[in-house]
């Protein structure tokens, strides 16, 4: 194993990151430093500059800004309220009805917006005052919101899978999207089971039975926003359009919905929403461009190969190796956000798991699931931060009720890891993957 290049790459990256350099630049400089080991100064700057721009040259990647834009339009268009009302209809008769409602609303909202943080803020913002009024422990309701908000990253459409597809040289996005359904829904359901047990023990109430008329009205009201999922996923599975085209259609649909149909956004607000989406996107995109440069630097230095060799020398048992990789990713997830963790560790671990005969779509689901847990854990966890802030509780308070949820999520992660069918069954049936 070529220790020198590993040290230069990870040493530069770690030093700059701890110093507080924005992660995109830290990644780019680490790539540059690694290339300097193999070629001249002029050649190194040339290859990094090329990779940063060229890494963005992908029609697939366009789907990310479009899905983000569609999500932002939806968020301003007041869909959270409509989805929550519909979730109440679905979960009203269960003990701890509002907790279940929170999970279901997160699954629907997250599916559409593709953002755990936006979901935790929009859904949790509405739900936590309601829950407080009915006597729920605020730490418990915040924990439910935090643990369930990442479901939308697994339930498609999901920008996370697009990033994964790109960094793995084009793993089928349609297959990844469809593969996310069962694990994402299982994640929501198992959280509901735990929440239900706790709610029953504490005697949290069921909701009032709504009238038949209300049920119909609320269901119909949620159909239009949920129609987005039907259009996007139906179009992709049916082969009518590609993921990127679907994302552009999603933008048009949400525009129609919130500007013309609901009239909740005035056309004058649109430039602001577009710019905000461009800003959010470019944070990811610059990081992607630099990560592509880093993955090329790793390939030049044979780093994935070395790491794969080292791991394979630890054990030849695939079960053990997958456990090691999952543990490593869980540790990474505690202190790193989703996107950089995905960008940096996918090219390192994918060759190893492919050697073990694992399908790249399956690994994409495992990786995403794992990092979903990561954004709920301290010290760095975006879902944790946002969930605590909208729930009005301190991080220290929420950790106790979170423990049960962590346990169930980790158990489910292992299940998703060791039962490939959970991920691959749907793509096989629906797409002939």
């Amino acid at each position: 194993m070529d220790i020198q290049s590993v040290l230069v790459l990870f040493g530069t990256f770690a030093f700059l990151m701890i110093l507080g350099v924005p992660i995109a630049f830290a990644i780019g400089l680490a790539a540059f430093a690694t290339f300097l080991l193999f070629m001249s100064f002029d050649q190194s700057v040339y290859i990094v500059a090329q990779q940063v721009a060229s890494g963005l040259d992908s029609f697939t990647l366009l789907a990310i800004p479009f899905f983000i834009l569609a999500g932002n339009i939806m968020n301003r268009g007041g869909i959270a309220m409509r989805l929550i009302e519909f979730a109440k209809v679905l979960a009203g008769r269960l003990p701890g009805a509002l907790a279940h409602c929170n999970v279901i609303a997160n699954m629907m909202f997250g599916s559409i917006s593709g953002s755990a943080v936006a979901s935790a803020a929009a859904v949790g913002g509405v739900m936590s005052p309601l829950q407080k009024k009915e006597g729920y422990d605020p730490a418990f309701s915040a924990a439910v919101n935090i643990a369930s908000c990442p479901t939308g990253l697994l339930i498609p459409p999901s920008a996370t899978f697009i990033v994964y597809s790109l960094i793995t040289n084009g793993t089928s996005i349609a297959a990844l999207f469809v593969a996310g359904y069962i694990p994402g829904i299982l994640m929501g359901l198992s959280l509901m089971v735990v929440a239900g047990i706790i709610a029953k023990r504490r005697g949290y109430p069921v909701a009032e039975r709504p009238s038949g008329q209300e049920v119909i009205a609320k269901t119909l009201d949620a159909m239009l926003p949920l129609g987005l999922i039907v259009i996007v996923m139906g179009g992709i599975i049916g082969g009518i359009f590609t993921a990127t085209e679907a994302s552009a259609v999603a933008v048009v649909y949400t525009l129609f919905l919130s500007v013309i149909w609901y009239r909740e956004i005035s056309p004058r607000e649109l430039p602001g929403i577009i710019l905000e989406s461009a800003v959010t996107t470019s944070i990811v995109l610059l990081m992607i461009g630099c990560s592509i440069a880093m993955s090329k630097a790793m390939a030049f230095a044979d780093i994935p190969y070395s790491i794969s060799d080292t791991l394979l020398s630890l054990s030849e048992n695939p079960l053990v190796l997958l456990l090691i990789i999952n543990l490593a990713l869980l540790v990474v997830g505690t202190f790193m956000d989703m996107t950089p963790a995905l960008l940096i560790f996918t090219p390192i671990f994918l060759p190893v798991v492919e050697d073990l005969g694992m399908d790249p779509v399956h690994f994409g689901v495992v990786m995403t699931f794992n990092l979903c847990i990561g954004i709920c854990t301290p010290p760095v966890g975006s879902a944790l931060f946002v969930g605590c802030s909208v729930g009005g509780v301190k991080i220290g308070q929420v950790l106790r009720p979170m423990l049960g949820f962590y346990a169930v999520l980790v158990a489910l992660l292992l299940l998703v890891t060791y039962v490939p069918a959970l991920s691959l069954f749907l793509p096989r049936v629906l797409l002939g993957y």
Partner: protein
Amino acid sequence: KTLRLNHNNPEDHPLHKSMQFMAERVEELTDGDLKIRIYANAQLGTQRESMELMQNGSLDMARSNASELEAFEESYGALNLPYIFVSADHYYDVLTNDIGADILASSEDKGFIGLAYYIEGARSFYANKAIHSPADLKGMKIRVQPSPSAIRMVELLGANPTPIAWGELYSALQQGVVDGAENNPIALTSARHGEVSKFYSDDGHTMIPSVVMISTSSWNDLTDEQKEAMRTAARESMDFHREQWDAMSAEAVETAKSELGVEFVEVEKGPFIEAVLPMHEEAAAKSPVVADLIKRIKAAAQ
């Protein structure tokens, strides 16, 4: 000394095996002085990126094809013209004689030099109906590679050229996003297009070779013996590749017929040739270099 060679095929692809053959021969011929390390699956970059990296010497070698190379060196355009070759033998003859050698050498001042051509068979149309003449193509949406000559050719034949990414083509054919595509018969089996397109109409419009290249600066760093070894190994690997490819192609046709139920349609090429012939004149009018190459290629057919 080890040279890095980057390409975008998987490791079980015949092109990869031919490059491996070349690498082994180079190592033998130089008694281990010169090695080639092959990076499959575009690990070091796409074909276009590889070209740009070779131009500044960050990458030693790469494989691309004549269709992509046209954007870097116009001479390759002559090989991409439909019906420029009259037979598989004429095609291989041009690639191995001085015309092929001149094209390989033509890009020296652009930062790279061609070493070997690897044939990839003749490309034909496939769809869910038989295509006997250009009239059958009228109004059909045909997937093409995003190159001006491919687009122009399909237009001249009366169809609607539709650029779709290779990875999405299977479902595009299945769902009718496009009505047909064009490629060699191996696409029917390796990309399973034979499952969704049941007629392969053997019009053989283009024969576009892959090209293995070395950066001009890496080439100039080699000793004369090393250059000679590279040339020998490259030439030997061309023949090795041709044999391998022809065997695979025949096998693909068999599998497509027997297992996928694809019907192979004999096509009268005359009307096709007539329809696309203006392209030869257009290409010649645009560049004297290409005009000269076209004349020489046609002369070699006699």
